[in-house]
Symmetry: D2
Subunit: 136 residues, 4 copies
């Protein structure tokens, strides 16, 4: 995480990232790596990380992979996303590596989440780049 300070995002760290403990550690041309450390606050009743926390990390990683290839004044939104869970997370760092699959107005992307050298989740998402004057 030593390179973290060099990553300049076109926005301040979002409140939801602060809440969950999500941080960007790498970002280049169509790729991003974000991490989230295990914390008890992220867990569901069995003591493992809630699927929604993993999804949030995955979705955020894709957003940053896309931010890396669009002009800074463009807005982007998640159209849809699908995630498969492969193993429970009980400790350690979750690392999400996202890459875009194609450029354009509609951007399909994929993301893998690793934890202790195991693939714990994989997702595919579709993002849309909004027109500049588009109101949310």
């Amino acid at each position: 995480m030593t390179d973290k300070k060099e990553i300049r995002l076109p926005f301040p760290s979002p409140p939801f990232w602060e809440l969950l403990g999500i941080e960007v550690v790498e970002m280049h041309e169509g790729y991003a790596k974000l991490v989230m450390p295990f914390h008890e606050k992220l867990t569901q009743p069995y003591g493992i990380v809630h699927g929604g926390a993993l999804f949030s990390l995955a979705d955020s990683a894709i957003a940053i992979a896309i931010v890396s290839v669009v002009e800074p004044d463009k807005k982007l939104l998640t159209v849809e996303m699908k995630i498969n869970y492969l193993a429970p997370v009980k400790e350690g760092l979750m690392e999400a590596e996202a890459k875009i699959l194609r450029r354009g107005r509609i951007i399909p992307s994929e993301v893998d989440i690793m934890n202790n050298n195991t693939l714990v989740a994989k997702a595919i998402a579709t993002y849309i780049i909004l027109d500049n004057d588009k109101k949310l």
Copy 2:
């Protein structure tokens, strides 16, 4: 939400629900309704609720719809889930209504999230009921 106190879950309110502000307001045979009020902590850079927060609410609603039909000693896990976002959420209450589509060891389910009388997200998920002795 007047009936809320009468809902007895087979587990205490999970830490991740506390973090996001998720609460169960209805639960019966294969159905559950959970709510999450808008809060600034849930937002992404455009000031709207992060897709991961909506997904977390949706996933939690499905879990409770399934809890309503399985024996209390059974464990259940999300195999996969897919969500489509239809409109941004900027205020008010998010209400997720989940229902199971079929009983069995593999349980497919769907969930709609409403906000200000608008469908803001729709998801389909697959859950699995674990054998009692299954370690996570």
Copy 3:
């Protein structure tokens, strides 16, 4: 199927529909119903209908539900689709009912497939309406 002849599509029956035996039986404002009869040619090694045949019916139903709300000169394409299988199909008619979830340039939709009064598959899809001059 008595009303079938009254349905005027903005295109001739596609070759792929002919191949699989797909027909439109209902279409109105944001809704469509398409059917496909069981046939041995649609089966996989266990003698049940191949998941791809069910998906093809579902995707086609959504396309027609969308055709019902866009101008005839517009083109539309599937961005993505996700399907859950609930029960195997061994005989009879498969009936897919599709409806759009929102209008716009990006159209999210859902579809249920029934067979012998059982829900056998459910899908959510995202379609995009192309600009008139857009080359495929």
Copy 4:
């Protein structure tokens, strides 16, 4: 496709593969490659290959990747699958490469479809291995 004859599947070529023109060209430990040549019968109204045909190829490729790692007497079924379309297919060979993401009773898998050196579709699926005595 010179190695094709050496691939021994635990079942004869399914009718639906014959209908669409799907063939296995490679299969080893958790991996399979299947192909489908462009044909006018596979097209939708714009003259491009129907999304359902691409999905069918993708789903079939995943099935064979899984067949490569389970005992021959086991049955497997698609629980769900999600596909993203990246580019239209107007000619040539569609090549689907599938790999499993994890072994077990529930098998998550992914598949890429290439056409003319372009990624035209990507899918993630979940399969289940049935108990031997399970009736479909």
